[in-house]
């Protein structure tokens, strides 16, 4: 018996629940050299803004213990070039496409989302209101319930298809932000974006990132991400896509048990580009061994004390 790996999020069916995370798989072209993207449950693009962005000057990544810091600064080709140059490639891929949308103002979020409305290939958008690496936009929307609801509602009004909101862990109550996003019309959550952190070069006495701080990702943050997934799961019935420090199928099982319906793999791709495929494989084995029929049988099945 092959366990059923299909999951459903906001009416969209995914062949398997393992996606690649925004900013960690570009627009798909590079990964496709390594394996067919159809093996992924789906792919989330790098954040797209209205205008092209260069991002911060290098160095914009730094290695840390069991993780990394990044302050890429939302470098991306902009919505126009995205539609013109990247969408045709994505249109040929047999996988779910989620476009991550970022902006400095509500108007920018709305404008990017509006233009994406006409792009048939994408299955949903993921609103990045949680990027810690830009001065304007991003995290400031995601740290205030009022602004969260406002930006989500504004996008909701112009975007007809499913809308995921990606939450920040850098808040007092992620549950409050999730509720606000739900009130604004979110269909699902991605939990979580990176954790604010920094590192210092003690020889030069300068920060190891030109942006002075960045987002911490990788195995180091997995316990935080699990707690955040659990917190959102306790607060809302919307489906959750779990992300943060997942490297193998064991990590994946932890996320499902805490309430995630699907997963994204970010930093682990850098070390193991085939990580998503191995995770799907490992999950199937786990289900088989535990005589479970479907991956959905795991979701939220944590037996708390």
């Amino acid at each position: 018996m092959t366990p059923d790996m299909k999951v459903m999020i906001a009416g969209v069916e995914f062949d398997n629940p393992v996606l690649t995370a925004s900013g960690c798989c570009g627009y798909g072209e590079e990964l496709a050299q390594l394996y067919p993207l159809s093996k992924l449950g789906g792919l989330v693009t790098k954040s797209i803004t209205l205008e092209p962005r260069l991002g911060h000057p290098p160095p914009r990544t730094a290695e840390t213990v069991s993780g990394m810091l990044n302050a890429i600064g939302l470098a991306n080709v902009g919505i126009e070039a995205f539609i013109r140059e990247k969408v045709p490639f994505l249109a040929k891929q047999q996988t779910r496409i989620i476009v991550n949308v970022a902006g400095a103002t509500i108007d920018e979020y709305v404008e990017v989302s509006r233009r994406l409305n006409d792009v048939a290939v994408l299955d949903m958008i993921e609103l990045n209101i949680s990027c810690p690496n830009v001065d304007q936009g991003g995290i400031q929307f995601g740290s205030d319930p009022y602004l969260t609801e406002k930006v989500v509602a504004a996008v909701r009004a112009v975007f007809a298809r499913p809308l995921i909101v990606k939450l920040s862990p850098n808040v007092t109550s992620i549950g409050d932000i999730a509720s606000a996003a739900e009130a604004g019309g979110a269909d699902a959550f991605t939990v979580m974006n990176s954790v604010i952190g920094t590192a210092v070069d003690i020889d030069t006495r300068r920060p190891r990132l030109t942006n002075n701080k960045g987002g911490l990702t990788g195995p180091a943050i997995k316990p935080i991400a699990l707690a955040m997934v659990d917190a959102v799961h306790s607060r809302s019935r919307l489906p959750i896509i779990g992300v943060g420090g997942i490297s193998d199928w064991r990590d994946a099982v932890e996320f499902f048990l805490c309430g995630a319906t699907a997963l994204q793999i970010g930093t682990a791709l850098f070390v193991e580009p085939e990580a998503p495929l191995k995770i799907v494989h490992g999950l199937k084995d786990y289900l088989r061994k535990n005589k479970m029929k479907s991956i959905t049988d795991l979701v939220g099945r944590l037996e708390k004390y």
Binding site: C24, E29, V271
Partner: protein, 263 residues
Amino acid sequence: MTRPKCETVRLIKRRDLKNDYFSFTFAPFSAADKCRPGQFVHLKLPAGEVYFRRAFSVASVETSCGDLELIVKVVGRGTRILAALRRGDATNLLGPLGQPFKLPRRRERVVIVAGGVGFPPLLFLAQKLIDRGHDPKHILFFYGGRSRSDIIERSRIKKLGVDLRIATEDGTLGEQGLVTKPVKTFLQKYGDNCRIFACGPEGMLKAVNELGLALHVPGQLSLEAPMPCGIGVCLGCVVPLTAGGHARVCCDGPVFQIGEVAL
């Protein structure tokens, strides 16, 4: 361009060269025959304190048996872990990655400028050119280091028959001073019909870049950058271009034309 492979390989040979340099031969790597000079592989370190892969230029290949040689200098945590690898140990290799050197025409004079740990891809380049029929005497191999002990594999280079010219900062081997000094002298005299191929520390690359631009000698530089992914997806390894914008060292490079990058 060949698709990169992600394979588990074993260390089949290790040679301890002097001054913290090591030669590691891994096999079998199914894409060994596809590796071109200037390309690199992204090596996973054995489970330990370092999480990310490390990039190393291909130093040579034995295509018949899938052998791939890397020449590594121990400089930090990652390379220290590598140095502890023993024969038979397995590791994972992703590659070949990046843009290779564009090869010169046969009658062009090749001016190689190798600085310290920039040596390995240029050894591979020289070997490849000779294999393809380039006259070794038309390959000038400038090789610089701080001191005598920084100049490794001398007999191997000599065996190629190239015109080896060594410079060390402390004068313990070859000409005294920075390697860019004899390069400049040479290019000023014989710069026509030359192609520069350089890899080494940032300062050296900067000097070579300026030399090439000033003397109108075309050529290519192989750059380094911290590389989280090595395959172009993280945007962590960018360098600014003179024409504006950023290029990813891992996949738009590591080889760039002289004048292309704002060094």
